[in-house]
Symmetry: C2
Subunit: 314 residues, 2 copies
């Protein structure tokens, strides 16, 4: 099985490549190092089935050539700007890196008759929702360009699946934590403490509460959804068990990486930055029915991620 | 009140311009004549409050200049490729004409602090749905690039509304019929009969059944939704009353424009072309609650549209 993983040197992509290799797949890992890092895949580069290409998905000719020479059976499309706050500053960034990369992948798949696609989507397609969200729920009213660009990509995948006879699995990622993270709340806190261990500034009032999922549990969800789906378009939600507040995360990070007298200071307000969704809840019945269950609760995931990131030499 | 109507020389745009002028607005009608026609606005060009600009929305510099010199209060964004079948042939056509035009309008509005937007969306954002669809329903799984591009535009409008403090009214249009139509089933049948009055070829088995709405009733829906909405993003569905099959439409058109011996021939199959949604049903409770009610049923709308199109010298 020859699998293309786009964004393969990124946070989740690098964990996925490792797991696919362990299962005996031939993995072509594509990354342009926008957020991905060579060190995330350093330990994979000697594996027999691993092949890395530094390439930008928006270079359509290069992508076409890669598909022409590689004979891919399946594609996991994870390449994206996953930093929501960064995307808010430039309306075109997420359009290019999230939506247009997806269109490039879909066109290459169509041209080279590759028919199975996994797509990394996001809870942000929903915007601010009160209910416990199942996969078929609406409305979809994103409040960030990140959410809008991923919703756009979902729409195009749905249209391609119908028009070109492709089969797609869309998994809407929740907040995922773990080693190789390229941004996010734990990453930010660790970075801030590295600069100044005496004070940790927290954006918002610290009461933003979300379910966090450890990256290993997410990879399990991805592979179960991938293997057990046969519909034209299957959409899944994965989420951590329980929830963790930013206040708890700050305390866990300070405990693990701070000094005994590190002070935590809150800037106030109900969200860290415009476009941040303060709270959402996923119904994960669909993945549960396939046998998926996260091994770690949300707070255990945060604790373990901090440990692993520090052990990894953050 | 200075209003920009994009796609103002198109089918629905030209009817909207006329109505807005009658209500005393100053109307700037923008069109690039991709589907719009000069003759659709010929009778408006002498009106005092009417101003026409031939311009492409994707020319960002020209759009910026237009906004800079015009001082718009509101924007009705109708410009689009509304021909779903044409968009199927080229995945980038609807991306450019439906989504990227919307992003251009949103950016110009942001830059020039215009905060009210009406957006012409579509039932096609849903794809193939069985239920009676309310505005907040999911899933949104478009089966055409047209549906995907409009869904993408909805997502970006939602994000801009949140991030830039804009206020948007999104009305998902159903199948609309009337004079100035640029494509669609009645248009196709009339054109075919003009070429050959002895036989009318109908794509599919003729049992595709949809609710049709007369364009005048749609304009009423647009203006009621526009006036009575104050939320950040308001989404509405408008639909005709009852449904009309393609078979009925063929008979109405042949009766009005054919010869006594015109033969109707069906090609067979449950849909006319890939990407066509054979059937959908809208819940229109939200517009009804605002006092909207179509004056014509679906089949009356079809009959009246055929009459008006023929009277207009189709």
């Amino acid at each position: 099985m020859r699998i293309l993983v786009t964004g393969g040197a990124g946070f989740i992509g690098s964990h996925l490549c490792e797991r696919l290799l362990r299962r005996g797949a031939e993995v072509c890992c594509l990354d342009n190092f926008y957020l991905g890092r060579r060190r995330n895949i350093a330990q994979l580069e000697t594996s027999a089935g691993f092949n890395f290409v530094e390439q930008d998905l928006l270079d359509r000719a290069a992508l076409d050539a890669l598909f022409a020479r590689s004979g891919f059976d399946e594609v996991f499309h994870l390449a994206a700007n996953s930093d929501i706050a960064a995307g808010i500053k430039d309306a075109e960034l997420d359009l290019r890196l999230n939506q247009l990369t997806t269109l490039a992948v879909l066109e290459a798949m169509r041209a080279h008759r590759v028919s199975r696609l996994f797509f990394a989507s996001t809870s942000a397609v929903f915007g601010e929702a009160e209910a416990t969200l199942s996969e078929d729920d609406g409305p979809l009213r994103p409040i960030s360009f990140y959410g809008a660009s991923k919703l756009a990509a979902e729409g195009y995948i749905s249209a391609y699946a119908h028009l070109q006879g492709m089969q797609a699995v869309i998994l809407r990622f929740p907040n995922v934590v773990g080693e190789h993270a390229t941004h996010g709340v734990i990453f930010d806190f660790l970075r801030k403490l590295k600069k100044n261990a005496s004070e940790l500034e927290v954006l918002g009032d610290g009461h933003q509460t979300k379910p966090y999922l450890y990256v290993g549990d997410l990879i399990n969800a991805m592979l179960i959804a991938w293997e057990k789906s046969s519909e034209s378009v299957s959409v899944f939600h994965a989420a951590g068990i329980g929830e963790t507040s930013v206040r708890e995360i700050a305390e866990i990070v300070v405990h693990a990486a701070g000094k005994s007298d590190t002070r935590i200071r809150y800037t106030g307000g109900d969200r860290g930055w415009p476009g941040d969704v303060p709270r959402f809840r996923y119904d994960i019945a669909r993945l549960k029915a396939l046998g998926w269950q996260p091994k770690r609760t949300s707070t255990e995931a945060v604790r373990y991620a901090v440990e692993r990131m520090l052990a990894n030499g953050f």
